[in-house]
Subunit: 137 residues, 2 copies
């Protein structure tokens, strides 16, 4: 609900690991972070955890002598908010040019392209003027 929630670039990485596995203690989170990116400094991570708690993006319960953190905001909500603000900023709110750009510029594997096609096929069962259509087997 709260869109006043502003998650910065670096904070996103924290959130993603917590979303992936929660609850998680700071040590666990730091371990997961440094696993994929050794440049993470533990202190930095802890500061960010504290900030995310301050922002009400994370909550925590004491677990032993440490804290176990849990997300207070859903990943889906944040992804949606971030996506919206991104298209707004970069593409002026117009989604189509963005998709065109992504499909054109980024490299998608043929497999991913197929998945996308399938997705689109499902998405609009009745296109305005489909060249042809056939009932599913």
């Amino acid at each position: 609900m709260k869109k006043n929630l502003r998650i910065s670039d670096t904070e996103w990485e924290l959130m993603r690991v917590v979303w992936a596995q929660s609850p998680a203690t700071a040590a666990e989170i730091i371990a997961m972070l440094t696993a994929r990116d050794p440049t993470w400094h533990p202190k930095t991570a802890r500061t960010l955890l504290a900030r995310l708690v301050g922002k009400k993006a994370l909550g925590y319960q004491p677990q032993g002598r440490a804290y176990a953190y849990t997300p207070l905001v859903s990943e889906a909500d944040c992804v949606a908010a971030a996506s919206e603000s991104f298209v707004e900023r970069v593409f002026g709110g117009s989604l189509r040019p963005m998709l065109v750009h992504l499909v054109e510029q980024q490299k998608l594997t043929p497999q991913e392209l197929d998945e996308l096609r399938a997705l689109l096929a499902k998405k609009s069962p009745a296109a305005p003027k489909p060249p042809r259509k056939r009932p599913a087997p």
Copy 2:
């Protein structure tokens, strides 16, 4: 080439109007900005223009007693960079979930969906296992 170029949220709005119409004087840019968003303060816009010049994102030539600004970086490059950093941040670098999200969550008109489908069809002329295919009429 320079990826050290960091364009902030607000700066993007400036850049987009300059990309849309360049060269443009500060007054023109401000006019275009306030046209779509009256909350823009002229002074703020001027500060951002100066910052963008400092960042080498914009250049300028004296035009009369004012400056005419022109982009020094292409919109395509910036869009690509922003897109990449966005997927990286929000989707952990994985493009497919992002497209899925966008197609699923955002509202695309049926027409846009068709365009996308067409785009995808062109993109991979030879799909691994097309259910069927038929030559165009």
